[in-house]
C-alpha cells in the first residue's frame, strides 16, 4: 500500500517545559524530526495547569519556535496529558460460552472486551485509553485473537487509563485556544514508552519511569503488553523545593546547587566537604554541607522511586527482564542510576545527556523530548491502524502490537 509522507506534531505541556516536536513520517514509516520548539513552562504545576494565561503564553511561544524551526504550519497536535489523577487499571472481562456452542465467535470476544472495558471509576473520571493486553481461553493465555477456537470460557484483559475529565478538558481547551486542533490525547508515559522501549524490551519486561519537573510517570510492560501505568505528583521541582526548605536558600540557587553539586547515590565519599556556588563576582555565594544536600536529594528521589515500586503489581519488579528505563529531566541527576539500582535491583538504563542542545539537530535520544517524540510514534501507529481495514479486533490488536505493521 502506497502511503504518503505525513507530518505529525507532538505537544507536551510539562511542569518545567512546554515542548512541541514536529516529525515527518516517511512512506517507509521512518520518522524524521523536522523541528522542535521548547519554552520554559510557567503556570503548570505537577503536570496540571495552574495558571491558564501563563501556560497559554508559553504554548504560543513554543508553537512559534516549532513552526520556525521546522518550517511547517502546525494545525493540529497530539497532546500528552498527565497528573496525579490519572490512573491505569487492569480489568478482565470473562464470559462463559454455551455448552452447545463451544467455539468463540467475534461477538463473544466483543462482549468480553466490553465487559473488560467497563471499569468502574469515579463518575467525574473519563476513560482515556483502553488497551487490550491479552486474551485468555479457558484461563490459558492466548496472544492472538482466539476467534474460532473451542473453549468453555473466554476472557479479555484490558488496561484502562482514566483521569478526571475536567482537568483533561482544560488541557484541551488550552490547546484549542491557540488555536490548534487536538488529534488525540495520550497519557504521557504511554507516549514516552513508544519512544523509549522497543518491542523486545517490552516482551522481556520493562519499566519506564519518566521523572519530570512536576510528576513522575511510569509505565510497566510485561510480556509485550502494558501492565501498569500511573503518575505520582512528585518531580524535580520537589527536589529543589526540599533544598530550599531545608537550607533556606532561594529557589534559583537551590536549583543550581541541585544540578551542579547534587548527587543522589549514597556514596559517602561524595558527601564530604562543602558544596559552593560562586556568583559572577567570584565570591563564594552559597555554601551547603554536601552531606545534607545529598541526603535531601537522595531521600526525596528514593521515596519517589519507592512509591512507584509499591504501586506496581506484586512480583512485577522480579519479572523485569529488560530492566528499568529512566527518562525525563530529573533522571539526569548525578548518581541517579545508582539510587535506582538500590531501589529496584534490576538493570538501569539512563539516557545520556545529549551534547548538542540546539534544536537544529534534534536527537531521538534526548530524554527531555522523549514524550513529545513518543507522541509522534503514537500518531504513526494510529495512522497505520486507521489505513488498514479496521474491524474492531484488528484495531485492538494493532494497539497491542504497536510495531507489528
Amino acid at each position: 500500500m502506497a502511503r504518503r509522507t505525513k507530518i505529525h506534531v507532538g505537544l507536551e505541556i510539562g511542569s518545567s517545559k512546554t515542548c512541541i516536536v514536529v516529525g515527518e513520517v516517511k512512506p517507509d514509516s521512518a520518522v524524521k524530526i523536522l523541528g522542535i520548539g521548547v519554552t520554559k513552562s510557567a503556570g503548570v504545576r505537577k503536570g496540571e495547569i495552574w495558571d491558564f494565561p501563563q501556560a497559554r503564553a508559553c504554548l504560543k511561544d513554543a508553537l512559534t519556535k516549532a513552526e520556525d524551526s521546522s518550517d511547517v504550519e502546525i494545525g493540529s497536535v497530539y497532546l500528552s496529558v498527565t497528573g496525579s489523577h490519572m490512573l491505569g487499571v487492569n480489568n478482565r472481562g470473562n464470559i462463559r460460552l454455551q455448552d452447545n456452542q463451544p467455539n468463540i465467535l467475534p461477538e463473544h470476544l466483543e462482549e468480553a472486551c466490553n465487559i473488560a472495558r467497563d471499569v468502574h471509576y469515579p463518575h467525574d473520571h473519563v476513560c482515556l485509553h483502553s488497551i487490550i493486553r491479552k486474551y485468555l481461553v479457558d484461563d490459558q493465555e492466548q496472544a492472538a485473537s482466539p476467534i474460532g477456537l473451542f473453549a468453555k470460557t473466554v476472557a479479555a484483559d484490558f488496561h484502562i487509563v482514566h483521569g478526571i475529565g475536567n482537568r483533561i478538558q482544560n488541557s484541551i481547551k488550552l490547546v484549542r485556544e491557540c488555536p490548534l486542533e487536538v488529534d488525540d490525547i495520550v497519557f504521557a508515559p504511554i507516549a514516552t514508552a513508544q519512544m523509549a522501549l522497543d518491542r523486545e524490551q517490552r516482551l522481556r519486561g520493562a519499566l519506564l519511569i519518566d521523572i519530570g519537573g512536576g510528576t513522575t510517570d511510569y509505565a510497566l510492560y510485561l510480556e509485550g503488553a502494558i501492565a501498569a501505568s500511573g503518575s505520582i505528583p512528585v518531580g524535580g521541582d520537589h527536589v529543589t523545593n526540599d533544598i530550599h526548605l531545608v537550607t533556606g536558600l532561594p529557589f534559583s540557587k537551590a536549583e543550581k546547587l541541585k544540578i551542579l553539586e547534587g548527587n543522589a547515590s549514597a556514596d559517602p565519599s561524595l558527601s564530604v566537604g562543602i558544596a559552593k556556588l560562586t556568583d559572577e563576582s567570584g565570591y563564594a555565594d552559597v555554601e551547603v554541607k554536601r552531606a545534607i544536600l545529598n541526603e535531601v536529594i537522595r531521600q526525596r528521589l528514593e521515596e519517589t522511586l519507592k512509591l512507584v515500586r509499591d504501586r506496581l503489581p506484586k512480583g512485577a519488579v522480579a519479572s523485569l527482564g529488560a530492566g528499568v528505563f529512566l527518562t525525563g529531566g530529573t533522571s539526569l541527576m548525578n548518581g541517579f542510576s545508582e539510587l535506582a539500582f538500590d531501589v529496584f535491583g534490576r538493570d538501569i538504563y539512563r539516557p545520556e545527556p545529549s551534547e548538542n542542545t540546539n534544536s537544529d539537530h534534534p536527537s531521538f535520544k534526548d530524554p527531555r523530548y522523549a514524550t513529545a517524540i513518543g507522541l509522534i510514534r503514537y500518531a504513526q501507529i494510529l495512522e497505520t491502524e486507521n489505513t488498514k481495514p479496521p474491524g474492531c479486533i484488528g484495531r485492538l490488536f494493532g494497539l497491542f502490537w504497536p510495531f507489528g505493521s
Binding site: N114, D237, T240, N241, D242, G248, L249, K289, L307
Partner: protein
C-alpha cells in the same frame, strides 16, 4: 462519636447459639467448624455411631439410640434414625434448653441425618429457638433411594425449620478438580458449609454498621423447596472490592453469578477493617448490580470488624426455587449472557449521586421495597432496558420526598399485582412458621445504625472546608523563611551557614503530620474516626511548603509529599 451501650436484647450471647452436627455428614461439618473455631457458638454432636462420636471434636456429645443401636450406625435407614432420636429425646431437649438460635447441620439421605433431623428441629422449636437447617443433598450416584429419603426429610424440614439452607452435593463437585480425591471433595464441601454457617452467624450475632439480621436472612431465603445460593469472598490489597466480589461469585453455588439472575432477594453483607471506605462499598455494589436483576430486593449490610485488618469480605446469600435450578441452569447461563445488564455501558446518569440514599433504600424492610416494585416491574415489560434504568430512578426520588420512611414501612399494602415473586402459599405459611418476635430486638434496629452511619460520615466533612482556607491564610501571614526564630548567633554568620546549623532546630519545629490527620480528608467509613487533634493540625499547617505553598495537600499513603522527606523521615 458518642458511644452508647447496645441494648442487651439486640445482641445474642454465645451461650444461646448452638450448632448441632447430626449424623456422619453433620459430624464432619461440625468438625470443620470446630477447626475453624467459630466464636460465639457452642457445638453439639449427635450420632448413633459411638466410634464416630468418640473422635468428634465437639464439646458436647449425645449418643442416640443407646439401647436400640448399641453404638452402631443406622446403616442408612431413616426409620432407625427416627427411633434413635426418640430414645434420646430428653437428653437433646435439655441440651437445647434456653437456646436462642440453633443451627442443625445434617447430610440428608442417610439414616441418622434424614431420620433424626426433623425431630431435632421440632425439639429445638419447642424449646423456643430459631432453627436454621443446613442440609446437604446426596450425590446423584448415591442412588434414587437415598435421594428419595433425602427429599422426604427435606419436606418435613421445610415445615419445621425457620430457615432451610440446602447444598446440593452435585454442585459441590465443582469445588474441586476431577482428579482430586473424594476426601478432598467432601472436605471442600464441608468447608463451604462451614463458611456459610460462619457467615450466617456473623450476620446474625455481630451487630453491623448497617445491620442485617435474621429477618433479612429469612427474606433472602424465602422460597419453598429452595436451594441456597451462597458465595463468600475475601480479599485484600488495592482493588480488594473487585477481588472479593470475584471470589464470592466464583463459588460453585453461584455459577459465576449467573444464577443470581433469577434471584428475587439477595442478601449482601460486607465486612471490613477500619479502612473500609464508602467508595469501595459503592464500587462493589455497582459491580454486583450487573449480576442481580434490577427488580431484585437487595438487602444490604455492612459491618466494621477491626480484626479484619486490611481484608474485605463479602457474603452473598440468596435462594432459588429448586425447579428453576434444575431445569433452567444451562439455559439461564446462556440467556443471561445474551441480553444482560453485564455489557450495558453505563451512562453517567443512573449512578446515584448520594450513596447514602442508596443504602437507605436498600436496607429498607421488605414491604416498603415491594410497594416500590410495581412501577418498574410494570414498565419493564413495555420499555426497553435503557429507559428502564431511568424509570427505576423515579421511585427513589419519590421515596425520598415522602419524609417518614420508618412509618410507611409498617403498613402492609395488600397488592393484587404482587408480581410473580411470592407465591401466596408461602406468604401465609411464613408468619406462623417464623416467630421473628422470638428473636429479640429486630424491629427498630434499622434506625440506630443509620444514625451512627451518618454521624461518622458527616462530621469530618465540615471540618475540611474550614480547615484549608484557614490554614492558607495563616501561612501566608508568616515570613517565607522556614526559620522563624533563628538562633541569635545566626545573625553574625552568613545566611547559608546559619541555615546549616539551624537545621536541627528547624526540624524540631516542623512536626510532620501524623497519618490520621491527613487521612481525614479522604472519605473513610470508620466506626470510630480519630478526629485530628487541634495541635496536630496546627503544626501540619504551619510547616512551610515553599513553592507548593497554598496548594491542596499532596497526601499519599499518609505522607504529605510536598514536605521534604529529609524532614519527615528524621522526625519519625
Amino acid at each position: 462519636m458518642i458511644s452508647y451501650q447496645r441494648d442487651l436484647r439486640e445482641t445474642i450471647p454465645a451461650s444461646a447459639v448452638k450448632i448441632i452436627g447430626l449424623g456422619g455428614a453433620g459430624t464432619n461439618m461440625l468438625e470443620r467448624i470446630a477447626l475453624d473455631s467459630i466464636a460465639g457458638a457452642e457445638l453439639l454432636a449427635l450420632n448413633t455411631d459411638i466410634r464416630r462420636l468418640g473422635s468428634c471434636l465437639a464439646k458436647e456429645k449425645i449418643q442416640l439410640g443407646v439401647t436400640l443401636m448399641r453404638g452402631l450406625g443406622t446403616g442408612g435407614d431413616p426409620e432407625l434414625g427416627l427411633q434413635a432420636i426418640l430414645e434420646a429425646e430428653n437428653a437433646v431437649r435439655s441440651a437445647l434448653k434456653d437456646q436462642r438460635i440453633v443451627f442443625i447441620c445434617a447430610g440428608l439421605g442417610g439414616g441418622t441425618g434424614s431420620g433424626a433431623a426433623p425431630i431435632v428441629a421440632r425439639i429445638a422449636r419447642e424449646q423456643g429457638a430459631f432453627v436454621v437447617v443446613f442440609a446437604t443433598m446426596p450425590f446423584f450416584f448415591e442412588g434414587r433411594r437415598r435421594r428419595e429419603q433425602a427429599e422426604t426429610s427435606l419436606n418435613q424440614l421445610t415445615v419445621l425449620s425457620n430457615a432451610l439452607i440446602t447444598f446440593d452435593n452435585n454442585r459441590m463437585g465443582e469445588l474441586v478438580l476431577a482428579k482430586q480425591g473424594i476426601h478432598e471433595a467432601f472436605g471442600a464441601a464441608d468447608r463451604m458449609i462451614s463458611e456459610s454457617i460462619k457467615a450466617v452467624i456473623r450476620l446474625v450475632i455481630s451487630p453491623g454498621l448497617i445491620n442485617v439480621g435474621l429477618d433479612e436472612l429469612m427474606a433472602a431465603l424465602r422460597t419453598t423447596r429452595s436451594r441456597c445460593l451462597f458465595g463468600s469472598g475475601i480479599a485484600e490489597g488495592k482493588d480488594r472490592a473487585a477481588k472479593a466480589l470475584r471470589n464470592a461469585l466464583s463459588s460453585p453455588l453461584l455459577e459465576q453469578g449467573s444464577l443470581l439472575k433469577h434471584a428475587q432477594t439477595v442478601l449482601v453483607h460486607l465486612s471490613g477493617g477500619e479502612s473500609l471506605t464508602l467508595y469501595e462499598i459503592e464500587l462493589l455494589m455497582r459491580s454486583l448490580q450487573k449480576y442481580v436483576p434490577e427488580t431484585a430486593h437487595i438487602l444490604f449490610g455492612a459491618a466494621i470488624d477491626p480484626a479484619m485488618g486490611d481484608n474485605l469480605s463479602i457474603t452473598l446469600i440468596s435462594a432459588l426455587p429448586e425447579d428453576t435450578l434444575m431445569s433452567d441452569t444451562r439455559r439461564s447461563i446462556s440467556q443471561g449472557l445474551e441480553h444482560t445488564p453485564i455489557i450495558e455501558k453505563r451512562s453517567a446518569l443512573p449512578m446515584i449521586e448520594n450513596p447514602f440514599i442508596e443504602f437507605e433504600r436498600k436496607t429498607e424492610p421488605t414491604i416498603a421495597e415491594k410497594s416500590q416494585q410495581p412501577e418498574p416491574a410494570l414498565l419493564n415489560t413495555t420499555m426497553v432496558s435503557e429507559s428502564a434504568e431511568t424509570v427505576s430512578e423515579d421511585p427513589l426520588e419519590e421515596f425520598l420526598e415522602s419524609p417518614p420512611h420508618g412509618k410507611t414501612v409498617s403498613i402492609p399494602e395488600p397488592r393484587s399485582n404482587l408480581s410473580h415473586n411470592i407465591e401466596p402459599e408461602i406468604c401465609d405459611h411464613l408468619p406462623e412458621a417464623n416467630p421473628v418476635e422470638n428473636v429479640p430486638a429486630l424491629p427498630g434496629k434499622e434506625d440506630r445504625p443509620y444514625a451512627e452511619f451518618f454521624m461518622t460520615e458527616t462530621i469530618p466533612e465540615p471540618e475540611m472546608p474550614t480547615g484549608f482556607p484557614h490554614s492558607t491564610s495563616v501561612v501566608k501571614a508568616q515570613p517565607v523563611s522556614p526559620l522563624p526564630d533563628k538562633p541569635i548567633k545566626g545573625k553574625y554568620q552568613p545566611l547559608h551557614k546559619s541555615a546549616i546549623e539551624a537545621n536541627d532546630a528547624f526540624v524540631d519545629e516542623v512536626t510532620p503530620p501524623t497519618s490520621p490527620t491527613e487521612k481525614a480528608p479522604t472519605t473513610q467509613l470508620k466506626l470510630d474516626p480519630k478526629f485530628p487533634s487541634p495541635q496536630n493540625e496546627l503544626s501540619f499547617d504551619n510547616a512551610p511548603k515553599g513553592r507548593f505553598e497554598g496548594e491542596t495537600p499532596n497526601v499519599f499513603d499518609g505522607e504529605d509529599l510536598d514536605l521534604p522527606p529529609f524532614l519527615r523521615k528524621k522526625k519519625n
